[in-house]
């Protein structure tokens, strides 16, 4: 009973806190540009507004169109239950849970792409093709990063992998994971979340034909994914296992905030890359994580 209550409470906390991050990013962007910007809680208002609206369906869309957005959200929510948060630990953890985490995220992506293809729009097919082709490289990077953590800590579950310090490879991992965070969440060097030109959009173009509650679910899922990656990055780099629980919590909170502000700064100071440059950046991220793996492996052998 207590376990179930704990599970529900954690999930509720994740759901409630996630939409803060895009708000903070937008605030940072507005601040750099010298504007006042939307309130930090803007996404909550947007979600509430969307939830009350009706749904417009394409004639071509099968029921899977609605199901896919729901399944995608559930997959991300499932992934959040696997990620430990500092001293509080994870709701679920077992040997090899990181593989389930990676595949939950892959399932969520599959669902978004599926729903996008259901509408029968040419633009959405294009966006899906781009999303999937970037994901191939981003996923390889994520797997290399997780493998590096695995080899470093000789542990096969996320709580054991994320607690101790990562040593010399931490800087490489931080760089690689930050690039993956930007790519997976469709932030600026890869995609512009504010763009409204179909030819250059990736994520935004896939959700063009969604409206009302399904769009709200997709937006909320995206914010949870951002929080998930920010937490993963923070805990992979910070040695939170050695701190007292209260300080570890503070350190993780500060780390997530720093990552979020960093995303906002990147978004204000960089322009979106040309498509042909994107695989290069993702390859660099992959190599960063690969070298972190090499350092972990060599350090373990010596």
């Amino acid at each position: 009973m207590i376990i179930a209550l704990d599970f529900v409470l954690r999930l509720a906390l994740w759901i409630a806190l996630a939409p803060l991050l895009p708000g903070i990013i937008n605030k940072v962007k507005a601040w750099v540009a010298g504007r006042r910007g939307p309130p930090v809680l803007q996404l909550y208002f947007d979600l509430a507004r969307l939830w009350r609206k009706g749904v417009v369906l394409s004639d071509l869309a099968s029921p899977a169109f609605l199901a896919a957005s729901a399944v995608g959200w559930v997959a991300i929510a499932a992934a959040t239950t696997l990620l430990p948060v500092g001293p509080a630990g994870a709701s679920l953890s077992f040997q090899g849970d990181f593989i389930l985490l990676i595949y939950c995220l892959a399932l969520a992506r599959f669902c978004t792409v599926w729903a996008a293809m259901e509408t029968g729009s040419a633009f959405e097919g294009m966006g899906s093709a781009r999303e999937v082709s970037y994901a191939v490289l981003a996923e390889a990077t994520l797997i290399a990063a997780v493998l590096a953590l695995c080899v470093q800590t000789r542990s096969l579950s996320l709580p054991g992998m994320l607690a101790p310090a990562t040593g010399a490879g931490a800087i490489l991992l931080a760089g690689g994971l930050f690039i993956v965070l930007l790519a997976e969440n469709c932030r600026v060097p890869f995609d512009d979340p504010n763009t409204h030109l179909e030819l250059t959009m990736i994520h935004e173009v896939m959700v063009l034909d969604h409206s009302g509650p399904p769009l709200a679910v997709i937006l909320h899922g995206a914010s949870m994914k951002l929080l998930l990656f920010a937490l993963l990055l923070t805990q992979a780099v910070l040695p939170t296992g050695h701190l007292a629980p209260a300080w570890a919590g503070v350190a993780i909170g500060a780390g997530v905030l720093a990552v979020t502000v960093g995303v906002g700064l990147v978004e204000s100071l960089l322009a979106r890359f040309a498509f042909r440059r994107v695989p290069l950046l993702l390859t660099m991220a992959f190599l960063l994580c690969l070298f972190a793996l090499l350092i972990a492996w060599k350090g373990g052998a010596a």
Partner: protein
Amino acid sequence: MNETLNLLVGMAMGLNLLALGSGRLPTLIRTVALQGMTLGIMPLLIEPRFEWPVVLVSFATVVGKGWIIPSLLRRAMRTANIDREIEPFIGFVPSLLLGAGGTIAAVALSRALPLLPEHAGSMLVPGALASVLTGFVLLIGRTKAISQVCGYLILENGIYLFGLLLIQATPLLVDAGILLDVTVGVFVIGIIVDRIQRAFDSLDTRKLTVLRE
């Protein structure tokens, strides 16, 4: 001390990959300059005692590779008035992967080499092999004469790293001579680049296969 040295060699290896991935000539030149300076301070770390010749050679390397050679290259680029974009034969992603594969192979295989016991834990040999490989990839895979010069400089940096293993055995005069050679070489290449530009209206080395009166 050995730790700092390994960190510097690691940095030089990272700069190798940056050189392979950079798409603009000024970035490439800056990367090579930074690598030269990183290599320049290594003799100070290897030599346990403070000796004037070592300090002098180290200083000359930092100034020569970090300042004189890059400014010669930049001047050549300016006078030849060339496009700053690099057009690769081997694309950026394949050359990066080649470089990374070479680096990993160098780290993994250097254990199999019959090295002296005092060099076994050092990253100098893998760093040298990786730099030589990167230099080769840049020499083969780029079309512009100046990026090929940068490849040649990275190749030379790799050989210099090998030379650091023998720092106790070779006279420093040799090091100084090599440095002078490289500087003069880049100086001459700067002039040649200008000539190629005037004769062919381009620095693309693919066009050099055509004979002209």
